[in-house]
């Protein structure tokens, strides 16, 4: 199949970027999107041009490294799919694809389609620790965990931290990410003791990084390759409210 690409090219964080057109001819429909970019890059290198820089690692949809906005949708048109797992058969011969980085102030462009998502790491760090007993494994039934709590925590933990939620949100809000990362711990008994502090700190770190605010459109959840539910955002809203009030009345 033959495609026309309009790719965002930007030399570094401070340089102005622009869309550059490329012909992607003779593409195998069974290729993944990133393999298609590899082919285009091989040709660019062959012609003595700079290849398109893009992030990738596992290429099996589990690490959250790959990131690109295709025709205005982060990770492209397929639901519940990372761009590394997106296949060219979902496009039609002759399609024009606009490929841009994930855009947000806290995600500065490193080069072309690569963005710096270390703001997410700072949010995770601010969440702090979980009190677990190290040493020998405790008896399995000392800490009963309700089945649905375990399921919910696992659903939240499915977040791969790719940042598509931020990229899709019209306000570049990181609420879905922060909600998933706080809920995966807050839902379990092991995460309960530090729950309030975690929620307050993570929201503070999120605001500090300069992400926008949630306006409840749920585009984040719709675009999420792991289909994290906006229910976690409601949970975060609830827990933050309770934690704020509780903290005002705390002894110290």
């Amino acid at each position: 199949m033959n495609l026309k690409l309009r790719v965002w090219r930007q030399k570094d964080r401070n340089a102005p970027g622009k869309l550059v057109e490329y012909e992607a001819g003779d593409i195998d429909p069974e290729m993944s999107f990133l393999e298609m970019l590899d082919v285009v890059n091989e040709r660019l290198i062959g012609a003595g041009d700079e290849p398109i820089a893009f992030d990738h690692d596992c290429r099996e949809g589990i690490c959250g490294t790959c990131s690109a906005t295709i025709n205005g949708i982060p990770h492209g048109p397929e639901r519940a799919t990372t761009v590394c797992q997106l296949h060219m058969r979902h496009f039609k011969d002759g399609d024009i694809l606009t490929i841009e980085p994930f855009r947000a102030k806290p995600f500065p462009v490193i080069r072309d389609l690569m963005v710096d998502r270390s703001a997410f790491d700072r949010i995770i760090e601010s969440g702090g620790f979980v009190s677990v007993r190290t040493g020998s494994a405790p008896e399995a039934n000392t800490l009963p965990i309700p089945k649905d709590a375990a399921e919910t925590a696992m659903d939240a933990a499915a977040c791969i931290g790719c940042g598509a939620c931020v990229a899709a949100c019209k306000n570049a809000s990181a609420m879905l990410f922060v909600a998933a990362k706080s809920s995966q711990l807050n839902t379990l008994p092991q995460g309960k003791p530090e729950k309030d502090r975690r929620v307050l700190n993570m929201v503070a770190a999120m605001d500090e990084a300069g992400f926008g605010n949630c306006t409840n459109q749920y585009e984040c959840s719709a675009v999420c390759p792991k289909t994290i539910s906006e229910d976690f955002i409601a949970q975060l809203n609830r827990e933050y409210l309770v934690a704020s009030v509780k903290q005002s009345f705390a002894g110290k």
Partner: protein, 245 residues
């Protein structure tokens, strides 16, 4: 009594200082402000509509109702103060949040698409802005009566002999003007669209929503905004058509 009240408020404010600081500074706090002020304003517009629908009954009904409201004294000012606070808080939060959101994406997408964001949710800013303009006009028109000063001269006598302001005639004469009715209809339409997203959104912002109740919640939100529009639109339409005179 006032001293006691002030003391309680003062003590509470010390305890709540941190909470309030967080309320007005954090992103989530501003969303709570948005939601709570939204609830207050929603309750008001519903009450306001129910009051107005009395236009379809005998003129004495709405005139005595208006007379009662105007003579609530401190009660009236308490309600006005709450409403004014809610409006200011709602606008303040909207402006703050919008500015933060703009800053959060300095370089926009050259091509942007949405998967499921509703029309209402994408137009909150513009619908809110036009509704605000309408509220100001509406106050000048019917409350302060500076648009048509002759409204101040309209009086009528209730059955028991009390002389009251003739709100019924004021509404009829106001809405007989096609331009005023037109602006009113547009503003009410936009407010209904605003409520369509706002109503369901409040629940999410304070954490009282999940996917189990999302369906009924969205339906309620849609039903509410349709009813709200229909109820409000009925008044100028009936007046223009000559059903109410």
């Amino acid at each position: 009594m006032y001293c006691g009240g002030a003391a309680i408020v003062f003590i509470l404010s010390i305890f709540m200082e941190q909470t309030t600081a967080r309320l007005f500074r954090s992103s989530l706090g501003k969303k709570y402000v948005m939601a709570v002020s939204g609830v207050i304003l929603l309750l008001f517009v519903i009450g306001h509509l129910i009051g107005n629908l009395q236009i379809f009954a005998h003129p004495d009904l709405i005139n005595s109702y208006a007379h009662f409201l105007q003579n609530m004294g401190p009660g009236l000012w308490a309600v006005r103060l709450i409403l004014l606070t809610a409006v200011v808080a709602h606008i303040w939060a909207a402006v703050e949040l919008t500015l933060e959101n703009r800053r959060a994406r300095p370089e926009d997408y050259r091509e942007k698409d949405t998967i499921q964001a509703s029309y209402a949710s994408r137009t909150m800013r513009i619908s809110g802005f036009i509704v605000l303009a309408f509220i100001l006009f509406h106050l000048a028109h019917f409350t302060l009566q500076v648009v048509n000063p002759q409204y101040q001269e309209l009086y009528t006598q209730l059955e028991d002999g009390t002389v009251v302001h003739d709100v019924h005639s004021m509404m009829v004469s106001g809405f007989q003007n096609i331009w005023i009715s037109g602006f009113y209809l547009i503003a009410i339409g936009l407010l209904s669209v605003h409520l369509r997203h706002g109503f369901a959104s409040m629940f999410q912002s304070i954490g009282l929503r999940n996917r189990k109740i999302a369906g009924p919640l969205e339906k309620t939100s849609l039903g509410l905004s349709i009813l709200y529009f229909a109820g409000n639109a009925a008044i100028p339409v009936a007046i223009l058509a000559g059903f109410v005179s």
